[in-house]
């Protein structure tokens, strides 16, 4: 039974890690704390749901659609709103972007309610119930796909950041944006691309959420909180840390569901989060700041 709890926790946790990946990238590069991230996940979910039910595409093919559409939406939102906070000093910037993102989450949530109604939607595929058993532990196919997709995007993001010119520019900006801009890197472009990629990753996570669970306009806050928990567990702004943080959250939740009550699984994550915030604010693996 312990093996099953662990496996379930890890497979769900991979999805949590993916949800947090975009938020962490955006925060790490731009210092924008986008608490409307959960709403972007929601929109990604609806994009996939639409492509699945109207075009009859396989849900895993719709990842391309959710990725591209959220990339564009992210770029648009950055240009329209967040680019105006770039010049502020860091502490003010974090606070103002937090407030602005809250306003944005309210707008997106209510727009979604208008367009798509409050009904719960989900993507049901023929292979939804398929699972195979190894050593008495069940591996549901859609949950395994979470891990595959999360690892794929984590590796792809790492490669992008290490091998491409744009990726290197992003890393240079993280290290020292002033020096980077003196070297001819356009900070605005770096921020724009990072924000758009972060949104696109939220979109991909949205597809997985629509397959694993269900989507509805009010789901945003739950997923934003999960992403924030994972981000704090893994260390603010650390990209490999997010996957580890996601796995820890997933295992905590699945253990809570089994040993206590599934109604409290979200609470367990939040309590863990508060404890880390109080005792180890640099994250479980982060180095202590000076």
């Amino acid at each position: 039974m312990l093996g099953q709890i662990l496996v379930f926790g890890i497979l769900v946790g991979a999805l949590y890690g993916l949800v947090a990946l975009g938020l962490s990238l955006v925060f790490g590069v731009t210092k924008i704390l986008n608490v409307a991230h959960g709403e972007l996940v929601m929109i990604g979910g609806y994009a996939s749901f639409w492509a699945f039910s109207q075009l009859g595409l396989d849900p895993y093919l719709t990842i391309i659609i959710s990725f591209v559409s959220l990339f564009l939406i992210g770029a648009f939102l950055y240009k329209l709103i967040f680019s105006r906070t770039v010049k502020l000093p860091e502490e003010t910037k974090i606070k103002n972007t937090l407030l602005v993102a809250f306003g944005l989450s309210i707008i997106l949530q209510n727009l979604a309610l208008r367009f798509w109604t409050a009904d719960e939607r989900g993507i049901t595929t023929s292979y939804l119930g398929t699972a195979f058993t190894v050593l008495g532990v069940r591996f549901p196919v859609v949950r395994l796909a979470n891990l595959a997709v999360a690892v794929f995007f984590l590796v792809a993001l790492q490669l992008f950041l290490r091998k491409t010119y744009t990726g290197k520019a992003i890393r240079a900006t993280v290290q020292n944006w002033e020096a980077a801009s003196l070297m001819g890197i356009s900070i605005h472009k770096v921020y724009l691309i990072s924000f758009a990629i972060g949104a696109a990753l939220a979109g991909v996570a949205g597809t997985l959420v629509a397959v694993n669970y269900s989507i509805q306009p009010s789901m945003g806050l739950t997923w934003t909180l999960k992403a924030l928990i994972v981000m704090v567990l893994g260390g603010l702004g650390s990209i490999p840390g997010t996957l580890v943080g996601g796995l820890i959250l997933g295992v905590t939740e699945s253990a809570t569901s089994y040993f206590i009550d599934s109604n409290y699984s979200a609470v367990a994550g939040l309590v863990l989060f508060l404890l880390v915030l109080i005792f180890r604010p640099q994250g479980l693996f982060g180095a202590k700041e000076g």
């Binding site: 000093p89 103002n96 508060l274």
Partner: protein, 320 residues
Amino acid sequence: MNKKRTISIVLLMIAIIGLALFPLLIKKDSTINLVILILLYMSLASSWNILGGYTGQTNLGHAAFFGIGSLATRLLWTGGFPFLPSFLVGGLIAVALALLIGIPAFKLRGVYFAIGTLALAQILNITVGNLFPEMSYNPDISNYQLLPRYYLFLVLVILTIGSAYFLVNSKWGLGMMAVREGEDAAESLGISALRHKLLALTVSAFFAGLVGGAFAYYHVSYYLNMPFSPEWTFDPMMMAYIGGTGTIIGPIIGSIFFVGLKQLLVWNVGEYHLIIFGTLFILIVLFLPGGLVELWKKAQTYLRRGPGQKKTTKPQVAKT
């Protein structure tokens, strides 16, 4: 200056007397309920403003304090305790909860307090929903009267705004604003940022708890976790920002504006008010950090100087 002060005191008196007489003159329940809603938001937004506006600490979990106050009051009161002690206990429990999160979170800078309070409110929202899944009914429904509720909210508004006024005009209030403008600078002058933040949080949470208690007294039946839901944080926060954070009048204007616009839009086009409010809120945070109060001041200066002349005063330092 003195003349101006007299005028504002007279205006304040007229407003209070007007509000006190209002339900006796207009006996329509729906109108009284509407004014109760405005009064509730006024005290909630003003209590948020003490910490969020004057001390610069963004509290994203005000619903936790509002909710815990309403929960404690409701449980004690429906359990047979007299109302007033239950009401006070609600406020005190909110303070205890605030210190529980505030002491650790304020030792850290920046976003930690904001996301910590957000998580706290959500923990309580889910937990209370799990513990009390059933609707809570007013046990004494046959004797329900609107007027005592109305006056409770009126007294609470006066207490909240009055306390906020005296607090921010005291030495402590100046310290709070100094912390907002720059923690390091304030600390270097011997102002303990932690103590000032905790004081502001205590006062803010106490009144939020009391408003929650009044809500528990006012509402006939509701789910006990409903006062913990995020809109009890975001609506008052938006009101404070739209009116103008860090001013006494800001949350008052903001809440009248919010409820008014909500009514107007519900009558005309359906529930669009949150989209409009969200947009307005973003615009204000980005371009007009002082809210409607600042807009009014700008308009006044403009009218006094005339359009042709140049500004002579120094530009205001943007609030952080």
